[in-house]
Amino acid sequence: MTLAAAAQPATLEPRGTDVESRADPAVLAGVQPPATPTSFVAAARTLISVPWLLALAPAALLFFFFLVPTLIMLSLSVVRSEAIGPHGDITLANYVYLLSSPFYVWAVLRTFIIGISTGVLVVAAAFPVAFFLAHTRSRFRGALIALCLTPLLASVVVRTYGWYIILSNYGLFNETLLSVGAIDARIHFVPSTAAIVVGLVHALLPYGILTIMNSLTAINPNVVRAAQSLGATRLSVFVKIIMPLCIPGIVGGFLLAFTGAISAFATAAILGGPKQETIATLINTFMTGVLDWSLSGALGGILIVSTIAVTALGYWFGVGKARI
């Protein structure tokens, strides 16, 4: 129901009752279709059906400007990187090169550490807010929901810049702590990996709140009432009913935060600085600085594979389960 619930394609299911609209008009008219149509005829019939005519333009857009570019990038990652253009033999040399250098291995590891910590922290911070928003009867509920979504209107660049103001050497934290006398020397909050995580948690928190709130409000209150009338305590209702039922939301929130964090460029570049390389900042270096499209393709390949793997794992682990 939300932008964050994108991990649940259920809304796209056609509604079950419309049998007529689905039936073949030829059958309805009493005309039997040929028993064994040739595959060419079948393909032609498929392509000139109403839904495909509708879907043709958007499908073509997605094919030519999403699928093809992604495949081109992946194909460039398995050829040698002498010049622009796919030529030469297919080789895994780019991946081997990246994964045999401690510098790049560290960048990849750092990226995943950032992704996992961001995901865990987003879920930990989003759950209380989502729980509160799902259950409060305050008349400010609508306003509070809007308030936690307004940060989405600001670009990541803008929000990260705010953290830079707060965390930099002459920023709010250091000036305040110095003037209070809590510290003697300025603390270098930025650049650091921790600062990247703080910025990313802030940027991705609204998605976590939306996803978890969605699964909390979907819990049928009768289930809770049933448990209570059977003598369950408040704690056991929470642990045994509410928590298991919102696992899809929690896993979904983690997935969104993780996949958003491992590919974030602006936050890593502003709050991480040159010493905290991540996959995203390395892609930028290879694309614009070194002009090595094969190595940036290989890094993109690592991002794609890990995103798909973690998403699939998340589906298997939680999103598909626990539906009442």
Binding site: M1, L3, A6, T11, L12, P14, T17, R22, T46, V50, P51, W52, L54, A55, A57, P58, A59, L61, L62, F65, F66, V68, P69, T70, I72, M73, P128, F132, A134, H135, T136, R137, R141, L147, P151, A154, S155, V158, Y161, G162, I165, I166, Y170, L172, E175, H202, M213, T217, I219, N220, I262, I270, I283, M287, G297, G300, L303, I304, T307, I308
Partner: protein
């Protein structure tokens, strides 16, 4: 409104602790925006606390063509991309929600693809594709426009699909029984009922494009540069309160826009769609 269990069933002390925790998290969320706003009107060139003096000099600088040009570019290209994505997303949503057809599941996967795969990767791929086809001249504007349409499309499809599923099918049947042509049913019945879904789709598409910095990272060119990339480039060379003022403008503009759009329709349900139980 509130599904699930209500507040009355919680122990008051536990509920109080929860409220305090939530308040702290809200402070955390609003912290950076607040201090960016403060930095944009204080005289110091670095963000010190308490702020020193009051000045509008940074805002004046932010309203010069050097910054308004990229802001206007962002507004224009985002509006264009959102409109294209909305039209394409609407027909795709109709096809996906109203029909079953061979290849439908593949199409659903393809539609959700841009949501799952990192936008940065799309930017790399688009740049490489345009270069390989010898279309490097079109990278700046065309590349970003296509990239924005691709990343906005899943949101439009989703919002319109929700809107369609809220329309009772019998309303359409009634119209066609009474003699309306299929085209007339779409125009007079479906489209007006779909208004909120379309507005929500446009809104999400616009936010995606306007706040993007990943698609444009490799596709922006001098003259075709959105404000986010301009800020990123500026941050490399140094820190200036002018950027704080520019940041505030890029935050306020879409807020005002949506306050206006909100007057024409309600899309609250699309943002926090409560699944109500009878």
């Amino acid at each position: 409104m509130s599904g699930g269990v209500n507040a009355a069933r919680f122990r008051p002390s536990a509920w109080g602790v929860l409220k305090a925790v939530v308040a702290i998290i809200y402070l955390f969320m609003l912290f950076p925006v607040f201090f960016t706003g403060l930095a944009s009107i204080s005289e110091g060139t670095r963000a010190a606390f308490p702020p020193v003096g009051f000045t509008l000099a940074w805002w004046r600088e932010a309203l010069e063509p050097g910054w308004t040009d990229p802001i206007l570019f962002s507004l224009r290209i985002s509006a264009e991309a959102s409109l294209i994505a909305l039209v394409l997303g609407t027909v795709l949503a109709i096809a996906l929600t109203r029909y079953t057809f061979p290849g439908r599941n593949v199409l659903v996967m393809l539609t959700l693809g841009p949501l799952i795969l990192p936008t940065l990767v799309l930017s790399v791929g688009l740049l490489q594709m345009f270069a390989m086809l010898g279309l490097s001249d079109y990278v700046g504007y065309g590349g970003q426009l296509t990239g924005y349409v691709v990343i906005s499309l899943p949101f439009c499809v989703r919002m319109v699909a929700i809107g369609i599923s809220n329309i009772p099918r019998n309303v359409e049947r009634a119209a066609s029984v009474l003699g309306a042509s299929p085209w007339m049913v779409q125009r007079k019945i479906v489209l007006p009922l779909l208004k909120n879904g379309l507005l929500a789709g446009f809104m999400f598409a616009f936010i995606q494009s306007f706040t993007d910095s990943s698609v444009s990272l490799f596709l922006a060119r001098p003259g075709d540069m959105p404000v986010t990339i301009r800020i990123l480039g500026f941050l490399d060379t140094g820190f200036s309160p002018t950027i704080a003022a520019v940041s505030m403008i890029t935050l306020i503009l879409p807020m005002v826009m949506f306050a206006i759009i909100d007057r024409f329709g309600q899309f609250g349900d699309f943002i926090h769609g409560d699944k109500r139980h009878a």
